[in-house]
């Protein structure tokens, strides 16, 4: 919260989703506050640029449902892990992402994410964040067992082969 405007207020203001009285309050403040005015200008320019780039990407790339789903799942996984988007993923993280992508096609985004978490909880790692190369195999075994229920023996085998280092 800065100058009585929190992050959510800014977000809704820039998206044009604020109620009129709240919008008027922020605009009245911006008129008199150089720092907030500069921030608003920067955010507006950034939003405009993002829209342009987004539109250009839309025109140049047509994503399949599976690609879109895998991309969203990746973003979601990064947010959940609190990972810096700029930091390169570790080999374990990469493998987890691949496994989630494989399972998403068969049993859906949410079930795939739940399967990874459940397998981690049932393995010595105890949580997805604690899965390492050292405790990878028991984790993968648990995940394959879950995949067996969801997708059958072939699906479980696929998960096992996809997850193997």
């Amino acid at each position: 919260m800065r100058h009585g405007i929190n992050e959510e207020n800014w977000e809704n203001y820039l998206d044009g989703k604020l109620p009129p009285e709240e919008r008027d309050r922020i605009e009245a403040h911006i008129i008199g506050c150089v720092a907030c005015w500069e921030f608003q200008q920067r955010m507006l320019a950034l939003n405009a640029r993002l829209r342009e780039v987004g539109a250009a990407m839309d025109r140049s790339h047509v994503l399949s449902d599976e690609q879109l789903s895998a991309g969203l799942r990746g973003v979601y996984a990064m947010i959940c892990a609190g990972r810096d988007a700029a930091a390169p993923p570790t080999p374990v993280q990469q493998r987890l992402d691949e496994l989630a992508a494989v399972m998403t096609v068969f049993c859906g985004t949410q079930a795939a994410a739940s399967a990874l978490q459940t397998a981690a909880q049932r393995s010595p790692a105890r949580s997805l964040k604690q899965v390492t190369r050292e405790n990878w195999e028991p984790f993968l075994q648990r995940l394959s067992a879950i995949a067996h229920v969801l997708c059958g023996r072939t699906g479980a085998h696929l998960v096992w082969e996809s997850g193997r280092f």
């Binding site: 096609v105 049993c107 859906g108 985004t109 459940t118 699906g155 085998h157």
Partner: protein
Amino acid sequence: MEALRITPRLVLIGLTAHLALRLSFILPVGFGQADKHETALDAIRITGALAAYGLALLICRRLADEYREAKWMRLAWLALTVNAALSFIRPLVRSPLPLPGQEIDLYSAPPIYGLLHHLALTPANLFLLLGLLAMWWAYREAGLGFKFQRRDGAALGGLFLLMLVFFYYKDLLTEAQALYRATSILQLVAQVQLFLIAAAGLLLHRISVQMGNGRLAVVLRWLTLYALARLALVLSVSLLRAAWPQHERLITDVADFGWQAAPWLFSLAVVHQAELTALAAERLAHIKQQRAAKRTVPV
């Protein structure tokens, strides 16, 4: 698994062809007059049901093998296999092939066919119910956090109320006044089973919604549709017949489109599941191929 190559698209073509063929015989004489082409329509009905359930039977058995290490899922697919097998013989005992032209409407068919029909129907329904429940239980046991929600409780409560209302009007059932007491009891049992099957279908639907997307959700949605469609048909046909008894033949002719489409819905669920396995096998082969290629690259 050669049966895996039967795609959902092919099943949809089968369904469309079946209904279109039926329509082509009914349209010239008009709805309500289908008995004029009884023999041909009987043949279409029996062939369609045999094709749909035969296909499902073939694939279900293989799917049970696919789940041999997952106890509840194996049980589920074995139960669905038995359901498919019993459903496969059901059209034959309802109106035997050596007697084409036999009246198929249970209001006027010889009483023994009503009994035979329900003797096959009741265990088939039981195995279908067991299959759906075992499947639901397997997904719950997997511990993926599929939750029973308040609205599911409301839906099941609604179904239960509907069942009570249905019991009140049970005399509307086609076999309520059957010559054999066993027939009317079996028909009543079959209707209760349909309510329970619909309830199990709703549970699976909740899981499919919680999965988000993916091919497995599609399988569950077709199974749900199959479970609900039959109950919806029983209820709507009973009510319509009671409300407009003078249009009984018309209602039967129209409702038979739904009844004859139902086996194909089951086939679609099964074929979608088989497609899922086929896709997994393809991807597995691809990964193995890639691994093998890496191993053979000279260092």
